[in-house]
Symmetry: C2
Subunit: 345 residues, 2 copies
Amino acid sequence: MPTKQKQQPAEGNSSAPTMADVGRIAGVSAMTVSRALKGNAYIAKGTLDRILAAVDQLGYVLDQSAGSLSSRRTGFIAAIVPSIDNSNFADTARGITEALARTNMQLLLGYSNYSVEREEELIESMLRRRPEGIILTGGHHTRKARGMLSNAGIPVIETWDRPENPVDAVVGFSNADAMEALVDSLVEQGYSRFGFISGSETSDTRGQQRQSGFSRALSRHGFSSERRVAVEAVPLRMSDGGTAIRQLLNRFPDTDVAVCVSDLVAFGAIMECRRMGLSVPHDIAIAGFGDYEIASVSEPGITTVNVDSYGIGTQAAGQMIAMLDHRGHSATISTNYHVLLRGST
Amino acid sequence: MPTKQKQQPAEGNSSAPTMADVGRIAGVSAMTVSRALKGNAYIAKGTLDRILAAVDQLGYVLDQSAGSLSSRRTGFIAAIVPSIDNSNFADTARGITEALARTNMQLLLGYSNYSVEREEELIESMLRRRPEGIILTGGHHTRKARGMLSNAGIPVIETWDRPENPVDAVVGFSNADAMEALVDSLVEQGYSRFGFISGSETSDTRGQQRQSGFSRALSRHGFSSERRVAVEAVPLRMSDGGTAIRQLLNRFPDTDVAVCVSDLVAFGAIMECRRMGLSVPHDIAIAGFGDYEIASVSEPGITTVNVDSYGIGTQAAGQMIAMLDHRGHSATISTNYHVLLRGST
DNA sequence: CTGTTAGCGCGTTCAC
DNA sequence: GTGAACGCGCTAACAG
């Protein structure tokens, strides 16, 4: 009977202490340590104290990978946002994190850089961690991604949008409708020669939807929606707004209001106007989207649409928790938006 | 001998497929599937194809929790930043993510909200996932946190600072020195009656260090550093800059330049000045810190210090990878900063 | 209130 | 090139 030496039988090396080590010191079994650390089981007061002392002495930290393998619950929620530089999605991520902090769930956060291919990769690598649920941005995914998602058998929540064919639950609003509301308000203010500044027409799905809302509203009012400039960059930076407004005014000098896909772009455009010696809103009015902090602080304030970025995060997390508790089922939750008229128009 | 039924013997329920399932279809053992999916082992071409087909057919996704329990490598790198709304730290997080994307490591990201207690909680919950390394912001941690960190036996990298007693490796710069450089430049520009706008004096360690650099520089030049306003909020928002500049000018009307802990605050201050009818820099000059995007786009541009937030992230990740490879050891890496004089001063 | 037993799904190690 | 056995550290299930 040869002494088969399989998988290095833990020699006297200083690897992390285990529950068994803690138990040895406290004079109990590993199982009792497990129960004591979980907190919701009956443990004799004295035993508990000895266990906690041993934990302290060893500096023991639970190994959750091992625990979740056994319990079949990882405690992970995955979330993917297009970017974290963009404060709108950062707010959503913060909302998710804070809502999750009340639970024992941990957030596994990724950002796709506005690419569905990158999103697919992220989904795959995150699913390897066996999250109990996944929160996505938007309703546009690769075929393979959709396949993996439905195969995973976990709640999926799409946010920031109202997909036509949702994978599962949805927490969001119609970007087209929100933009339409903005345009309506601007028409009411007396504007009629609208320009539109957007980013890449292929990657930024929400930007495209805003543009279709823009066109829809204008055609309803009988105005032209031809004055459009697209900057091929994603995500759009403030400085892109400067480039874009120059192009717009160059190609369509009669424009009386420029609507931008985001407040950041609008801000860049306003600053560029100042440099060009144009007064906003007197010579040209400018509106944004998203109600970033800068929109209210900037002077003049930027007319925009508040879309409750933070609330999208908390509501998505709340819906996720409900679905995991079996208290709630797949649903579509409408988040609020409202137009804010400020000094820039 | 009673039929003890332990741990639900996987009935015909639709739980996720395993390597064994894949192997069954492909006509090989689970072990061969493992090797095939790892990629770096010799597998007969035909076998490989059958395995990949089976993976596809089942929609099989590797279970990394199980894998890492066995291999003792989780593939996680943990990172904690004070906030993700603040684009400086968001840039660092992006730098880490992008540098890590080339490896097989996955980022476990948390934010402490500028609280060392919250940081301690985060460190504990992250260590439960057995990260292979951890990246922190700053050098200020609770005693317990330091204990857990050294106990964990993994590389620790502190960033954005030059701690006196680093836990392990460091990637950062001296906030005091950087601020001193800014003040020196402003003195050279002819300013002498300096004001300082900062946030909480207790939670924002880097803000405090900037303030001490501010005082040090001024005393070196023989100027007063008494003109100070602290807003008790963390993190500081743009709008806090407005409140603060009012207070500052109220209490110290002779101030000729206001130095702010961050560009966001500086921007808020500049906008408030505009509302008060003060011209920047004619009536009052204003400088920031961090070289946020807004500093270069805003009109006037904001004088500030660029501290390479993104580079801190990529370098920290690079150092981490080196340490994990045993190619590099604990080290202190200096990141660059440079003063940018713009129109606001 | 506590212990025993088994096994979560994989990778390590050795055997062929 | 491939397989068998074992165990990573923990918790479910049951027995007492």
